[in-house]
């Protein structure tokens, strides 16, 4: 038995707790005691309770309930004193109890209005009844962001226009617009900026922002939304409105491909004879021509002379640096041509080639650093053979000394005779 007593207590406590909790959460009551003249109405949110007739003698009154100013009432009744009239309002309900009727210039009633479970944002007496009431609605702000050009180049400028239009059924109040910073663009110029706060009547349009953006990089960009926060006439705040987001395609400017220029120095080396006798001179001619379309600079020509050949002489432009004949030219213009000659002497029999090394630089007009080129040209084989008089050199000394002595003797004799016969 004791056990059942305990369970009963627990259940009782729980019920009480539950009742307490749910009671305060589920039922909200608000009470209004009002005196309303005949012809006037009482507005709760968008509902107006018109007092259309008061019958003093009968202690009766006629009430009509209109919603949103509609022509026909959603409810009407004639009740006596202490009678209660009940109708649904939004998600809750309203009880109207007629407390008394009175007289005056106009007859009037005293009522007790009990509003249950309704979020009340407006209660007031409306002179003239429902026809003169103001009803609050939902303003809808449509924000349109447009661009004057949606395919542009980098550095091009677009004009962005943001317009707002109230397409809702209530006036928007306390409207504040904002426009975020736009990545990939920079603000070039702001022409119009109406951030508010302002109000916007039903159906009214307003140009909010006009500004110019300059595209800084290529890509397909969707502009960010402008926003608007607003309330309705009843100061109810609405979720913020977002504008449309136009897409702008920014193309990188077509940078015309600058053709690269080249300095092309054509080099050739020729010798005057492919077959020479020992100790004869070989004249080499270096020809160089710039067949490219850019001038060359820092042109070095180096004459590579084989061991058994001896550099004898050459054009005055040739300098012998460290035993190597070289030519330096600071620049060498387009289509310029030059020839250099130099002579070498072969003191040994053999087959030789003469090599010319060429190096130069040029600016190709595109790249920052200068282009470096080096080439070389080689002559055909030069055959050095025994000289015509080489055999003489191999002879004993008297073979050529005797004729020389003879020539000197003859010369001396002629000189002597010349003096003898001179007058």
């Amino acid at each position: 038995m004791i056990k059942s007593k305990r369970i009963f207590l627990l259940v009782l406590c729980s019920v009480i707790l539950l009742m307490t909790l749910s009671g305060s959460a589920s039922a909200r009551f608000e009470y209004y005691e009002e005196e309303i003249k005949v012809g006037d109405g009482y507005q709760i949110n968008n509902y107006v309770i018109d007092v259309t007739d008061v019958f003093l003698s009968d202690k009766l009154a006629v009430f009509k309930v209109y919603k949103n100013g509609a022509d026909k009432p959603i409810y009407d009744d004639m009740i006596g004193i202490n009678d209660t009239l009940n109708f649904d309002l939004e998600n809750g309900e309203v009880d109207l109890k007629l407390l008394s009727v009175g007289s005056g210039v106009l007859n009037r009633v005293n009522v007790l209005i009990t509003v249950k479970n309704v979020d009340i944002y407006l209660t007031e007496i409306v002179n003239g009844g429902h026809e003169y009431a103001t009803y609050s609605g939902t303003p809808v702000i449509e924000l349109t962001k447009t661009v004057d050009e949606s395919n542009i180049m980098v550095d091009d400028i677009i004009t962005v226009t943001v317009t707002a239009k109230n397409t809702g059924d209530d006036k928007a109040t306390n409207v504040i617009f904002s426009d975020p910073k736009q990545e990939h663009f920079i603000l070039d110029k702001s022409i119009l900026e109406q951030t508010g706060p302002m109000s916007l009547d039903i159906g009214a349009s307003q140009t909010v922002f006009v500004y110019m953006l300059k595209a800084t990089e290529a890509g397909i960009f969707t502009l960010k939304s402008s926003t608007a926060t607003f309330s309705n006439r009843a100061n109810q705040a609405f979720p913020q409105a977002l504008s449309t987001t136009p897409t702008v395609t920014v193309t990188a400017p077509e940078i015309p491909e600058v053709p690269k220029k080249n300095a092309v120095l054509e080099l050739s080396t020729d010798v005057d004879s492919m077959n020479v006798k020992r100790n004869d001179q070989i004249t080499a001619t270096i020809s160089i021509k710039n067949t490219g379309d850019a001038p060359a600079s820092a042109v070095w020509i180096e004459m590579v002379i084989p061991q058994d050949l001896e550099y004898v002489s050459g054009d005055s432009t040739i300098e012998v640096i460290g035993g190597v004949p070289k030519i330096y030219m600071g620049s060498f213009g387009v289509q310029q041509e030059k020839e250099f000659t130099y002579t070498v002497k072969a003191s040994e029999l053999g087959t030789y080639t003469l090599t010319t090394k060429l190096s130069y630089e040029y600016d190709n007009g595109v790249d920052a650093e200068s282009q470096k080129v080096s080439t070389e040209s080689v002559t055909g084989n030069v055959y050095v053979q025994k000289g015509k008089y080489d055999a003489l050199l191999e002879q004993p000394i008297y073979v050529y000394v005797l004729p020389i002595i003879a020539i000197i003797a003859i010369g001396a004799w002629i000189f002597h005779r010349h003096k003898q016969y001179k007058f």
């Binding site: 004799w413 002629i414 005779r417 010349h418 003898q420 016969y421 001179k422 007058f423």
Partner: protein, 368 residues
């Protein structure tokens, strides 16, 4: 070996001397002097004397030390009187040059008769030589072209006279006028004449110093030159092919071989004929026949034969003249010329009278 002195006076003399020196080298080119020696058989000394330095400079084959310039301010012109006084002033200089060259056996002095220097120097030089030495001295004298003018003719006439008086052992004449048929311009005519004369002189010098058959020597030459009127000329022929010696002798005596216009058979008084050549051409009979022909018309004829292997016949004839018709003719024109010159001088003198009249005004001023 003979010692021979050869002096060339004046331009003409210098140039003939130079031609002798040139031919002595044997070569035909002007370079011969550089590779060859003179082929004189004898010791030959040549001396060129002139007052005109340019004439001496022109010479090519005469040694510098053998060209003697006698300075005279304005030259001699064609004035023989000036020439004579210049010679007198420089006589010692000239004679010392000859003295320095040693002993001589014979001397030849070459000159033109009509110029200034040579024509005046030569007779005086010969006179000096004859006074100092006893070797024979012969003059080789070139007569002018007749058209060269009265002054030249006058000079030629007086020069020849002075030459006769100088004591020369003989005067060998060469006549430009007669030799002018050699043709060409004056320069090449002169060269041609000079070569002809040089050729003959060289042949003569060679002969005088050669071994000869039938012997002709310097003594014979002297004898020939002694004959006649002291005037002589030379005839010469050198065969270029196989020519009979008879023909060669005739040609040497014909006008084409002579230096002076004469009819040998009429005018010659003595002669010397030298025949040279290969033995095969030298037929003694032919030579004797031909020489006899000459000697029957002339007086004595000396002959000499020189044998030279491989040579064609060559004949030189030295002829002294008894008379010279051509020279008489020359004197006749010369006398005319002398008269003309005198008249001209008188005209000039009368002009001088006029000058005298004018000179009265010297120092006076006209007064008005």
């Amino acid at each position: 070996m003979l010692n021979i002195l050869m002096v060339g006076n004046g331009q003409c003399g210098n140039r003939i001397l130079d031609a002798v020196n040139k031919q002595a080298f044997g070569g035909k080119t002007k370079f011969a002097k550089f590779y060859s020696n003179q082929k004189f058989k004898s010791r030959v000394e040549t001396i060129a004397v002139n007052t005109a330095i340019n004439d001496l400079k022109e010479l090519k084959f005469t040694k510098g030390k053998d060209r003697i310039h006698i300075p005279h301010l304005h030259g001699v012109g064609a004035n023989r009187n000036v020439g004579k006084s210049v010679f007198n002033d420089n006589k010692d200089l000239i004679m010392r040059q000859i003295e320095d060259r040693g002993r001589f056996d014979v001397a030849f002095v070459v000159t033109s008769a009509s110029g200034g220097t040579g024509s005046s120097f030569t007779p005086m030089l010969i006179k000096e030589l004859k006074e100092r030495y006893d070797f024979p001295v012969y003059a080789i004298v070139v007569l002018p072209f007749r058209e060269e003018g009265s002054l030249y003719l006058q000079n030629a006439a007086f020069c020849l006279k002075d030459m006769r008086d100088s004591g020369a052992d003989g005067i060998i004449l060469a006549d430009n006028q007669f030799l002018k048929q050699l043709g060409g311009d004056v320069e090449s005519a002169y060269n041609g004449i000079n070569d002809m004369i040089a050729d003959r002189i060289l042949f003569l010098l060679d002969a005088l110093d050669s071994e000869m058959m039938m012997v002709t020597d310097l003594g014979d030459f002297k004898t020939v030159m002694d004959g006649g009127a002291g005037l002589a000329t030379i005839g010469f022929y050198r065969a270029e092919k196989d020519v009979p010696v008879k023909t060669a002798i005739q040609k040497a005596l014909s006008p084409s071989g002579l230096l002076f216009s004469t009819n040998v058979y009429d005018e010659a008084s003595r002669a010397m004929v030298i025949i040279r050549g290969d033995k095969s051409y030298l037929s003694i009979d032919d030579i004797s026949n031909e020489v006899e022909k000459l000697s029957s018309a002339v007086g004595h004829v000396f002959k000499g034969i020189i044998v030279r292997n491989g040579e064609y016949p060559q004949v030189l004839a030295v002829l002294t003249l008894e008379s010279a018709f051509e020279l008489e003719k020359l004197y006749a024109i010369a006398v005319d010329a002398i008269n003309q010159e005198r008249e001209k001088k008188e005209r000039v003198d009368s002009k001088k009278e006029v000058n005298k009249a004018f000179s009265q005004l010297d120092g006076l001023e006209p007064s008005y």
